[in-house]
Amino acid sequence: MALTDPFARSRGLRLRQRLQHGDLIFWLVALGFALLVVALLLIIVAVTWDGSREARETFGIVGFITSTDWNPVTGEFGALPAIYGTVVSSMIALVLAAPPAIMIGVFLSDLCPARLRAPLSLMVELLAAIPSVVYGMWGVFVLIPFYRTFIASPISNAVGDQIPIFEGPVAVGRGLLVAGIILAIMILPTIAAVSRDVLTVVPTHQKEAMLALGATRWEVIRHAQLPYARAGIVGGMMLGLGRALGETMAALMVIGNMPRIETSLFQPATTAAAQIASQLPTTESDLHASSLILMALVLFLITLAANSIARLLVWNVSRSSGGR
């Protein structure tokens, strides 16, 4: 990556001249903080790597991520159910949240009456500021009873026998789907806010050019604005996905915490973050604790993978987007 050095001009000057206005000092301080991020990241990796030694030596990383066992009594630990639960609940969240969130972004940037824009934007941002434990409680006491009675049970009764992913019994109602719904609500404001911001900065001449060609408002949005903002919107979606993957408290409270892979979305499951938060304080053995730390490392790899895919997507999208 080519670094653009804003202080290139000062290169070649003598040290005292460069120090004269504090430029170099500022540059060094800023560099220090940037390196601090790298150091933190390395420390986290080192600590989890070290803490998970026992689990790695016992199961091996591959054995750990492919095993479906989670038995603290016999000391058999595998992360596959947690990985599955993490990925599937986050995907559900993304699929459910992205379309409405992008629409909210479009509305706020283009269609919203000026008087409504500020309060509406504030509301969206407020939604992002709600602590996740509050979402979890709302999920437990409001969403789950509603979801069980009016969504899960009817669907399961109607098509559960034909479509395996909707198979019953719904029972308590906790499971992958409801966790996905809660996560969707949580990542909605993130995607909406980013979408609004990137749509707002689409150059006016783009829109004006479309309008001059006789395009309708929908056509302007569809053909001029969305393509231009596509990279940013995808970035926002990935930001949301990142939050969903790592979300702990809300998922923990509604997913049913059962480390098992079931076809049906109505059955309880678990996520990596939820399992760590739930079990790390009271582990059965050192191997149990070590396995949870290895799980943290695996979760770290999952988010790393998601971020890399996001980078690739954004890069791909911005190369092919028409708007430029």
Binding site: A171, M258, P281, T282
Partner: protein
């Protein structure tokens, strides 16, 4: 057996005369008599000005189980008025962490719902298990209109194994002749976080059901064959309350405070007993014949006790037998002794079962084993 209050007074009274470091004794109601009785003949304590600022405060730290946290905090609070010079910090970080902190010697005392394993004992030679209160696990359910359901441990195990999936199952019906059991699916709820509650519950199931012992076993978290996980007591309770046909287990205190319907469980004598403070206390007494000297014991499924509730367990304070700092050790034992003998009513107020007298006796014997530089620190008043 003497009234525990008298014993405490006498013991702490002795302390006043011998060491004279109980400041503000007059302020502490329970020590008024002791203070005047001994104060006069002890120059040290006679000179103590009750209003003088405390200079030699002793700070003790402990960490561990969350289950006894409310009563420990209350005891610590109340003990401040007895011994203002002792500051105790208790952090409820969970039994597992409490054990680790104790083993690594970063706390003055540990606290745990599960006793140290033999492996852990090997790392802390001479660890003492001092039981403080008894906890019990209540099995609660949600079946509207069906009060007073009774179950045996075997049936309960079958439900949690997923073998019994309907409330109208003949095995449940047979034990509840007074009820017409409904045709309703069973949904079992378990604690998803590692919990002493789960340990006691699974320990009981493993004792009464071979299938459970074989397929699942005992632990603070286990591999559940079926069911839904709730986070902590509150999560289990919410799931049970929201789900018709569900069954779950919570700490007895929790169910008493919330007022949930509880299952009467069959004990070894064949009686169906609902969990109450008394039936829990009887469970501990029912184990007397089998109590090991170090009190590292699970008291689920007690062999004796007509009305003993079978799913209960002790919670312990962990101490080292050989300690270094004399003043701190004395303060710590003063606190534990006071809590066990004077604090029992406070415990009952918070719905904890205090130790039965016989167990208390053994416990005080364990306290006598604490030594500093080879010297015994505590002697029971006769």
């Amino acid at each position: 057996m003497a009234n525990p209050g008298d014993r405490a007074e006498r013991y702490l009274g002795q302390r006043t005369s011998r060491r004279g470091f109980i400041r503000g004794a007059a302020a502490a109601g329970l020590l008024v008599t002791a203070g005047t009785a001994f104060g006069g003949c002890d120059p040290d304590s006679a000179e103590v000005d009750p209003d003088a600022p405390d200079t030699g405060d002793i700070t003790l730290t402990g960490s561990g189980a969350t289950f006894p946290d409310p009563i420990y905090q209350l005891w610590i609070d109340e003990f401040r008025s007895v011994r203002p010079d002792i500051v105790i910090n208790y952090q409820s970080v969970g039994s597992g962490q409490g054990k680790r902190d104790f083993i690594n010697n970063v706390t003055d005392f540990g606290s745990s719902d599960a006793y140290l394993t033999d492996e852990e004992m090997a790392r802390v030679p001479g660890a003492l298990h001092i039981p403080t209160v008894i906890g019990a696990v209540a099995v609660t359910y949600n079946l509207e209109g069906f009060e007073g359901i009774q179950l045996s441990g075997e049936t309960l195990a079958s439900m949690y194994l997923g073998e019994i999936t309907n409330w109208s199952d003949p095995r449940i019906q047979e034990e509840n002749p007074h009820l017409e059991m409904p045709d309703h699916d069973v949904a079992t709820i378990f604690r998803s976080d590692g919990a002493g509650t789960t340990w006691i519950f699974t320990d009981y199931l493993a004792k009464v059901s071979d299938a459970w012992a074989e397929q699942v076993g005992t632990g603070t978290s286990v591999q559940w064959p079926v069911g839904f996980g709730g986070e902590k007591n509150a999560g289990v309770m919410a799931s049970v309350q929201q789900t018709p046909g569900s069954i779950g287990y919570v700490e007895l205190i929790y169910s008493l405070v919330i007022g949930m319907p509880v299952v009467a469980l069959r004990n070894r004598q064949g009686n169906y007993v609902p969990p109450t403070l008394e039936s829990v206390q009887e469970a501990a007494a029912g184990y007397l014949d089998d109590l090991p000297d170090d009190l590292r014991v699970s008291i689920t499924d007690p062999p004796e006790g007509e009305h003993a509730y079978p799913v209960s367990g002790l919670t312990w304070i962990l101490l080292r037998r050989e300690r270094e700092n004399r003043a701190e050790t004395e303060a710590l034992i003063d606190f534990i002794y006071w809590a066990l003998t004077e604090g029992d009513q406070l415990a009952v107020d918070l719905h904890y079962s205090p130790l039965p007298d016989e167990v208390l006796d053994i416990t005080l014997g364990l306290l006598e084993e604490v030594h500093v530089d080879g010297e015994q620190i505590f002697r029971r008043p006769d």
